[in-house]
């Protein structure tokens, strides 16, 4: 604070003195740029730029990786065809049961091979198909938000190393975004809530007549309002994804919750359907990107507001408890005094 104030002061001084004008101007520009970078828009832009940069990098690294799995699968299929041909040659068209039995065995071997390949990352697509730009964008988002869907994963060694480095730098940036966005959204939401609250109160006829200003209390947004906002966001996501992806409502609710909680199983990812057309899935991925990024900001907002609310509630509770305890101690002392008095009287009476 101090330093920035001093700097701007100095810069204003020096601009008046026309000497080394250009340098100072550049310095001023730089300062303004840095100040802007730490505002909310700057951080948001930084996150988006970082995601785009990461997407381009990962696309470049992963796109031309040789995929042995595809070749392997092709080989297996060809050998399977050969075996089936052999079987057809041996048992003619005449012996159906033997033919079915043998071909079933062949198919079983083929199926086991393919499941093993899938376990090791075979996806039925070539790397060019997998690492389209929106998919890479989604991938870098899932890395630095720590969601980790896992529907798209790096196969090359360089991709893995790059992922580790990318996460190391990306997670702090994301946390900055999270905090900043949470603060801004919380402030605006609070303002909105308070204005709404006051408007509704002014409509109240009792207070208007009485002209007694109620005690200005610090208004905190109740947690239920935050929960409503979050559930509304999840609901809108549910309807949106349900309409596009033709998931049922349970599935899309499940997807939204799992994404916003940063769990990210990756069993449901928009646009990951094999049968989908390429362009549609890309649009879906981009919209999912925006949805998740905004949702994270909302979660941060709710976290902020709820923290505040809980803190206020706890303070109130503590005060109440203290009052209660004071009451009890007072009552007990009064009671004790009474009994003492009573005893004293009794003894005096006996005397």
């Amino acid at each position: 604070m101090y330093s920035s104030g001093r700097d701007s002061f100095r810069s204003r001084d020096s601009t008046s003195s026309t000497r080394s004008d250009a340098r100072e101007r550049i310095k001023d520009c730089l300062r303004k740029f840095i100040a802007f970078m730490f505002t909310q828009v700057g951080v948001g832009a930084l996150v988006v730029c970082y995601a785009i940069l990461g997407a381009a990098g990962f696309m470049h690294i992963e796109k031309d990786s040789p995929d042995e799995q595809l070749e392997n699968v092709k080989q297996w299929r060809i050998s399977c065809v050969e075996q089936l041909w052999d079987i057809t040659n041996r048992y003619n068209v005449l012996n159906q049961t033997a033919w079915t039995y043998n071909s079933n065995n062949v198919l079983k071997v083929f199926q086991n091979n393919i499941t093993n390949a899938i376990r090791q990352g075979y996806n039925g697509r070539t790397p060019e198909e997998i690492w389209s730009f929106p998919a890479a964008l989604m991938y870098s988002l899932s890395v630095f938000t720590m969601i980790g869907y896992g529907n798209v994963v790096p196969k090359t060694a360089w991709g893995k190393v790059g992922t580790i480095a990318y996460a190391c730098f990306g997670i702090p940036i994301y946390i900055l975004y999270f905090c900043n966005m949470g603060k801004v959204l919380a402030q605006s939401f609070k303002w909105l809530y308070i204005t709404a609250h006051e408007c509704s109160r002014r409509e109240d006829p009792l207070l208007e007549d009485g002209e007694i200003q109620p005690v200005k209390r610090k208004i905190t947004v109740p947690s239920t309002a935050c929960l409503w906002v979050i559930s509304f966001y999840i609901l809108s996501g549910t309807i949106m994804f349900g309409a596009w992806e033709k998931w049922n409502y349970l599935d899309s609710t499940y997807f939204c919750v799992i994404s916003l909680c940063k769990i990210g199983f990756g069993d449901f990812v928009p646009g990951a359907n094999i049968a989908d057309s390429a362009e549609g899935s890309h649009v879906k991925l981009v919209i999912n990107f925006i949805y998740v990024l905004l949702g994270m900001g909302l979660v941060a907002m709710c976290y902020n507001l709820m923290c505040e609310d809980v803190r206020v509630k706890v303070r109130e509770l503590r005060e109440e408890l203290k009052n209660c305890l004071d009451d009890i101690t007072l009552k007990i002392t009064v009671c004790m005094n009474d009994t003492k008095y009573y005893h004293q009287r009794q003894t005096r009476n006996i005397k």
Binding site: R6, R77, V81, L107, Q111, R119, G148, K160, V257, G264
Partner: protein, 406 residues
Amino acid sequence: MPRRRRRLGSRVRSYVRALLAFLFSNVGVVVLVVAYTIAGAFMFQAIEGASEMERVNNMTKERDNTAQYLWQNVTLALNLFNDTALKEGISRELLHYQRKIVVAVHRGWDGGRSSRQWSFSSAFLYSLTVITTIGYGHLSPRTSWGKIVTIFYALLGMPLFLLYLSNVGELLASWFKCIYALICLCRGCPGFTRRRVVQYRSQLELSEAESIERPVGWMDYSESEITPDFVIPPYVPPDARRYPRQDPRRAAYIRSISLPQPPRHPQVPPVRGWSEPIHQAESVSSDFTYVTFDVQTITVPISVCVSFMVGYLMFGSMLFGQWEKWDKLDGAYFCFISLSSIGFGDFVPGERVYTPRIETSFIVCSLYLMLGMALVAMCFNLMQEQVIHYYAGLKRAMKRICRCKR
């Protein structure tokens, strides 16, 4: 009788209070998290295990269908004599079948292995990945009940796990600080000592600016209190004359990092004008004050935290590399992805090599994750402290500079 009942009631109340206090202590939180995870494991096993057999049967039926289709449409329709057309037909059919397999595996069919997917240990790992928000996704609920239960399980479990992280992280941070103080300060590794002296010097400069009263008897004090290992000449060398007050501080510092004071040492008369934590800790002197002093005031440098985390990562990569036959990079990648709670799920222990010890592998992975998350929290704690410390120093320096210039 009423008296006795009241006693019973108060006893019950005190039991409840003790139980709650225990639950919010460190042990209680750990027990709570483990119990919650085990309960989740049983629940998910019960919910999801039932639907598993259905899918296996479904897939068998699918294979039979494909064979039948091949017989009907390819072998019968195209004759034995048309070689290329037959092969083409079979190939097309197989491609179709292959797509079906891919979809089925993505829907959670595991290729008809003998071992069950939702065994107890894998369900345990699953519920752990839910509450830690790692979410590997190697297992995911398929039934609608499983999904609903997962949502509520996560909503309830994540705050619990955050509680665990903050509690255990704090505890581990204090332990780590203690160990660090014992090891690094008793031996007095040279780099650290120098850094410490430099730090003191900067602090002295600052306190000079805040015009603290100069101690009077610092000469005698430094002479009487030095331990024999660290002899500081009472005469101030000419180049150090610029900071004449460095010596008593330094003596005090060295005394504080040395071994416990033997009781025959005389009590230190508190030096006038200095209000530093060392003296206050010393004035309540017992043999072990040096530990409390260290824990109160020391901050562990960031580099130590980072190297500790890297060491834990390397340990994990070695462990899993040996256990799962991954190479070093894959192991480190897996550990990093897990501990940063990203959790892609392309590498999961016990996924590739199906051996009888898969159960233990799941359990080892769960333990590694729980400990690792706590260690990450610990490192964050320590680093935060250090950053705050730096920040406070920076702020003070800034204030001083401003005051000097204006």
